[in-house]
């Protein structure tokens, strides 16, 4: 019984910890801009200081913000797709084949996972402006791919090692063509891993800030985090807190949806690489 109470308290603590700041930013997004610029303390909007959906319609109506959402979605999806394809090839090789240089691949991936990205933005900026992909989608997609590859390769190779590849042969013995064997046996087994890698890659790309502010300069390619940090409000002397909060909530919605749909897979992916090594 005592243990149960302890668990209940612990559970409540976790929920408060995780959700309170989220509730706070949602609450802030409903404070009116006037209330915020005149000071509106407290967790909930004060009476008369609420804004209804005004902040949201302002944010959605802001063209720079819409553009940034579009950029973020486009860039993150493309980077995720390409990164997962390339990582799948590499992870397959690592899990299934003997070849010289395997250690090199794994070490490279590890080093890159630790790389301080800020130390790259200077030279990358210099390179990108020389070859003309500065402030373009491509200019962000490439570094996103490079920095999500280690994660994707590690996660995928951990998954692939678990796949009983013998079943492929077994299916072929049973009369299936190799394509059928691959599609009916291997693909269903590998799909969850690929999928998990894709989600984690997408999170990284969606979250990135350093590349987002350094390698863009207009709304052509500026992603959401950078756009939020440049957000222009009606009061030039202070940050438009409630508008920003609304923008932040909008930018978080895709993450929440993904989490709600795929929480089990994400946890599996996050821990698989670490534990199974």
């Amino acid at each position: 019984m005592k243990q149960k109470i302890g668990l209940g308290v612990g559970l409540a603590a976790i929920l408060v910890w995780c959700l309170l700041p989220v509730a706070w930013i949602i609450s802030l997004s409903f404070k009116s801009q006037d209330a915020v610029s005149n000071g509106s303390e407290g967790f909930l909007p004060q009476p008369g200081g609420g804004a209804g959906w005004q902040n949201y319609s302002d944010v959605i109506g802001d063209d720079q913000f819409r553009r940034a959402i579009l950029n973020s979605i486009g860039i993150s999806l493309i980077a995720t797709l390409l990164s997962v394809v390339i990582a799948t090839l590499a992870a397959y090789a690592i899990a299934r084949l003997e070849f010289r240089g395997k250690r090199f691949v794994l070490t490279t991936a590890l080093v890159i996972a630790m790389f301080p990205v800020v130390s790259l933005v200077g030279p990358l900026f210099d390179m990108w402006r020389t070859i003309g992909i500065y402030d373009t989608w491509l200019g962000l997609i490439i570094p996103y791919m490079s920095f999500t590859l280690p994660l994707a390769i590690w996660t995928l190779s951990a998954f692939f090692r678990e796949i009983p590849w013998e079943m492929e042969q077994a299916a072929q013995v049973d009369g299936a063509t190799s394509w059928q064997a691959f599609r009916k046996v291997i693909v269903p087994l590998a799909a969850p891993g690929v999928f998990t890698a894709a989600i984690l890659t997408f999170f990284f790309a969606w979250n990135d800030f350093v590349f987002g502010i350094s390698l863009t300069s207009t709304e052509t390619a500026r992603p959401i985090p950078a756009a939020l940090s440049f957000f222009v409000g009606p009061d030039p002397f202070s940050r438009p807190a409630s508008l920003l909060a609304a923008g932040a909530v909008v930018a978080t919605i895709p993450i929440v949806i993904i989490v709600l749909l795929f929480q089990r897979k994400i946890v599996a992916g996050l821990t698989s690489g670490a534990v199974k090594g």
Binding site: L7, G10, L11, C18, L19, P21, V22, W24, K31, V36, E41, F43, A87, L89, A90, A93, L97, F99, G101, K102, A109, L110, A113, M114, P116, V117, S119, L120, V121, G122, P123, L124, F125, S146, F147, L151, W154, T155, A158, R161, E166, Q169, F203, N207, F209, V210, P225, L228, A241, A245, A248, I255, V259, Q263, L270, T271, A274, V275, K276, G277
Partner: protein, 316 residues
Amino acid sequence: MTTSTVQTATAKKPRSTPKAPDSDRARAENSLGRKLVAPAIVLMLVVTAFPMIRALYLSLFDYSLTDPDERSFVGLQNYVTALTDSLFWRDTANTVMIMLVTVAVELVIGFAFAMVMHRVIFARGVIRTSILIPYGIITVVSGFAWQFAFSSDNGFVNGWLPFLDDTFDWFGAYDSSIVAIMVSEIWKTTPFMSLLLLAGLAQVSEDMIEAAKVDGATWFQRLFKVILPNMRAAIMVAVLFRALDAYRIFDNIYVMTAGANGTESISFLTYRQVIEQFQLGIGSALSVLLFLSVLVVAYLIVKIFRVDLASARQEG
């Protein structure tokens, strides 16, 4: 960011093809393997190794993007300037402090969370969902949320903390600003830590804990003699990746204080030199130093924990 880790001895040997490979086959496999990993390797190196080499080269020049004609070779002068500058050391100290404090706090809270999640048999989906939200949320958003929470105009923290005056300005001085930054960092990354630790906890055999219980070990003894030593690998992974992540802290600081009151990190300093001041020479030198310091931190952590790992094995 990533959760994967060094290939440890426990890794399963990659399955080779079932039939004994003849040398032709081995050669084909070798070549296929290389072809499959080639795109990944090229991509990873294009955006890291090549720029790093370029940074090394540029760091030897006095080179400002806004005064390109005056570019001149200065040898190691930029490194001397950086390493003898109090700003560099202040920011390094800041960064190390942030890293030590956040990782220590996260380890404790994350472990507590992991224990709860490990034992809880109900509402697992709810917990999993809520714990993933801080993990998935954009760091910039976390920075904003906490900045506004600590604000004396629009926040709630001052109102909730009884010992604080309502007008207390968290961002008015170093101590309170850095606390605010660390709170934001800890909030966002503790869930990640707890998930890694949870996975480690799952590896600890229940039988051993039960056996210790039967032998009359107290809760603390069980924790420190059985549970923790048996999840060292998971702890090491968690600490290594979180520490390196914390050492690169940038987004929160950019959003919350922009480095005011001396709250700059080493990443922020580098960013300012390169991207705001366009001082490619000294900025590149700082980039190189930042990279080297990350390697040192990684080396130290691996070194420290490896010693522990070995001794743990001897005990076991």
